[in-house]
Symmetry: D3
Subunit: 240 residues, 6 copies
């Protein structure tokens, strides 16, 4: 099967990293196609960028010329999943929700550790809409921007590990979700410090997408995610 794993920002190195994470856990026979949007911000760290990325991801997926079996939206706490679900019959898996769903099988409560403090409300809102907050202990921020994860990995590790430990010790989290597409490499260190299972959203999403495909399950089309009605669009998609 072929899974499209779509980065939400336009930083190619991050797409590459996400694609490698996905490929590392994919089953034999699963082809991972990592895509970068054609337009939008170099990183998503707020609502404006996230809304723009949502559209850029949708357009990228719509333009993909080959058949595929599922799509993974590889941004943490981002907008847009519902739009992709309307456009496609195949399953769409958001990594925020994939990580939380997976975490709930492993411990009584889970926390998310993300980068910037301003991303916390976005993640909380995504999880609220997804109905996944009852067992959410906390969303904590390390205070680092998305691209800092690539620029200064050591500081990133230290700051994230500290927040993960606080989530376990103060908020009673029993599982940690790493709340950023670029955090996957940090899993080992967080496990070592906290002793709790650490879920990477991209990896979780790959297994969930594969599972849905294997079970023959597709997006429900009876109401919320019915295909868009035929209509006129003005000046869209963009010419550039």
């Amino acid at each position: 099967m072929r899974l499209l794993v779509v980065n939400v920002n336009t930083t190619e190195s991050m797409t590459k990293s996400i694609g490698e994470q996905a490929a590392a856990v994919a089953s034999p026979g699963t082809e991972i196609v990592a895509l970068t949007p054609d337009f939008g911000p170099e990183s998503c760290e707020g609502n404006y960028e996230s809304y723009l990325a949502a559209i850029a991801v949708m357009e990228k997926v719509r333009a993909y010329p080959e058949p595929f079996d599922a799509v993974i939206q590889a941004g943490y706490g981002e907008h847009g999943r519902e739009g992709l679900q309307e456009l496609l019959d195949v399953p769409v898996v958001d990594i925020t929700e994939a990580a939380a769903s997976t975490a709930q099988f492993l411990g009584h409560k889970y926390s998310v550790v993300t980068t910037l403090d301003r991303a916390v409300p976005l993640i909380e809102d995504r999880l609220k809409l997804a109905g996944l907050t009852d067992r959410l202990a906390s969303v904590r921020a390390s205070g680092l921007g998305v691209l800092d994860l690539e620029r200064d990995p050591d500081a990133a590790v230290a700051a994230i590990v500290e927040q993960a430990a606080a989530a376990v010790e103060q908020d009673h989290a029993e599982v940690i979700c790493l709340g950023c597409g670029g955090m996957a490499g940090l899993t080992e260190q967080v496990v070592a410090r906290t002793g709790v299972p650490v879920v990477d959203g991209v990896a979780a999403a790959v297994t969930i997408a594969e599972s849905l495909v294997r079970l023959g399950l597709k997006t429900s089309k009876v109401r919320t995610y019915a295909p868009p009605r035929p209509k006129q669009f003005k000046a869209w998609p963009p010419a550039n």
Copy 2:
């Protein structure tokens, strides 16, 4: 003061209608500027269209060349308000939330009557994120598309009145919010049939925006709606 009232779709006649509704309730001294996005769908009836409209609204507002005091996003159950709040210091008022907030001052529970059934979950999700569902009795759909409201007003009236009456009689709503930018003219008929107050989102939003401006209140910038961080955007905004 100057209020930007931004239609979410690209149908100019609807922009005109929304602008007239807004002007009809604006205080003396308030200038209403009704804007139509430069790109996007002719109507918003689902998530894909709504996400696209969110971006189109933001770009339109960003490009507006004159000073203004507040922005009203004149689409019911649409995405994007949080993005506008990041981009602007002035208040941003979503008509879905404006109607609900207003309704809560008038009765113990309120319902929303909207057009298509598929819009119901979008409205529910918007109200959930806004923290306005505790006193929500129901969101009901008349089964008509947005543009049907202009094409066959008589059928629209009949269908909406029927759902409003059901909301009052079966769901115990004590106030009705008309859940569509183009429904404003129907208020009188719904009041006549149900005997309950009927809130039009555009009108409610105008008074709330004016109030926030008069009180000197602006969007909080300390966390969720802080301005976007400086960064590179690829191929955006679109050239067309």
Copy 3:
């Protein structure tokens, strides 16, 4: 239009102050009539006093001899709004709910800072009944009594500013509501310290009441706030 702004306690100086706050934000053409109950406590700092004040406010409004367009109940976290809504057709606006509704347009979460710790549960309960707690970060108390605000304003400012800052820094509030009818003068200091918008309940209530009147909206009479049924009252209203 004429707005009745009813103090909940019998301290005339506080009524005067409330009336001035209201007048300061009222539109041209709005007449503010500040009323003091004929009986009841000199300040409301608990349930017994608040229940008594609720009745005293209702009797005062019932006895008002001239027409009026809306009523503002100018006590924070007090009982009684639902009773006024039964007695009147015109809108009734509680300042606790007015402040919270207004705050929700400005930030992702809001906190209330009030006077005595024992008032916190009353405010929480009022907001719970009003369906306005989903985005409530916290209710914090400065530890000062209502009348201390008049007696020692400097200490009041310091204590309130401290709690407001804690609400922003520890509870992630993005907006502060000043939770006491007599706190209005402190807005400036709290803004200076925290950098977040500060909402005064009386001012917010005036703009909301004016808006409802302008929109021609009145209290729903179909169920919860239907007029009292005709019946015998024993020894009421009191002779004194």
Copy 4:
């Protein structure tokens, strides 16, 4: 021990009936003192009347000249319990909460059947503040006024039994609370029709009050229900 059972309205025959219900279940050695407020409405069927009754009940209890061990507020869905708790050290038991607490020991979900439809939101709000709605299946109204229960008992029985049956069959209630101080005599008929346990609030409250007294438990005074602070009251209590 001595229990004050306070009617919320000024209809002496209803006080007598409530007192008899209470005495019928009281333990040997428990003295039931049934009190009627000195002022207020002949029945409580809405917020205005309920707020007035709240104060009338408090004044009656304050004026009671002998020692007592607990107070039962014998009105369904009425205001005021929190005020009594401030005024007294001894336990205060509201019959709405007593019935619901008792019902939760008997079945997975419970419903309340009350008189007028307009009382439904009052009861819902009382149960919401009491934290007793998670297992509430529904509050249903028979459409009869409080005094109809005395005037036309046969019709009252029929209407209440019908709603109780609907609560069990449609709302999945497994226990019924009779939501009116005057409904106690109807228990037998409702049991016969529905086959589920039926809880009478007055009876439940008597056993709970007795239990609290026997366990030596009193109202907590550390915060919400601390005694009122010493202060001036204007023209209160009333002279009549």
Copy 5:
């Protein structure tokens, strides 16, 4: 009347202690029969043990040869109450729920103080299923095992008192429930330190069970707690 008070573990000394607590508050004419399961763990400190105890308690009660009027399950945060309710017509009272229900009559919020930290989620889950978490301030653990309460009572007192004080001061609890069958003797010390009412679950359960019996109320049999359907059991009950 005869009440069965069933310990959840197989430690006879704890059964004796529980029986004495129960007898100390039982009404004249109430016979307390304290039972120890025939199999299972010496203490319940986790889910495996609690599930096993649930079955052991049920089998012990099923085998009891004499008539009885109600059953008290005397373990804090344990599984099994719903099973007993299916097996019996008489009321079944769980001490976790009895304590919480009682606490809610005494203060605005309550906390539970228990032994091991790992028991906290069990208690939280029990209260969640019972619909008793809206007014729950916190569940706190003293860090001591169940049997430590017998082995080193002084340390137990100190640790529990410390957590109770923290619940009042930090979590705003106004009532404390002692969350362990063996904690009853500590009530006095906790009251002395915190000044709030302290509820012992066994004592509360005895009065509730007696009340239900006096009121003639039994477990509802219409749905959730209907008797088990007739069927084959393999190798059960155990031969030993």
Copy 6:
């Protein structure tokens, strides 16, 4: 990898059927071992039976002599998952939760269709504890017992299809979970009637268990699911 799939009842034919369902979706290289408890009821249709089954499942898994990688508890709405999680390091997947988690990736709301009406509250409670009720539209019962599914498959199909259709049309479910271990064969008919995705719990659980194993994730041991403390057990496990 080896997955233990444990039936909750002692009916071997149902174990066989469950094992076949599991094997049908297992990846190449996954060995499915279907186990039947050594004691307990022939079917689980209530709390008593479910509690007994919980223990029987745990004992069966404890006694399994070979290594294994994950356990699937193949009963719908049953007790016991938390106990298994304490006993094991490997992941434990409950089919109720597996189905719900999977459904949430496919539609905005989901419903569960089960057999007996009395099972509905058990399923609701399981989903409540699992934090999976926010997007639950309804739990509906076909009115058939567990073993009827084997005895009269045609009637089972008809009754289940009818409830599934009602869930979609009346409750706005967009996905159906078949809420019984023995319902798997009915998927096709329900899909044909409703047009929505249908999730079988056993199949969903197999893919989730495989995913957790592939990702190297195990049950968190820091708090709720820490191993049982060493202690004495009386007369357990049973000799028979």
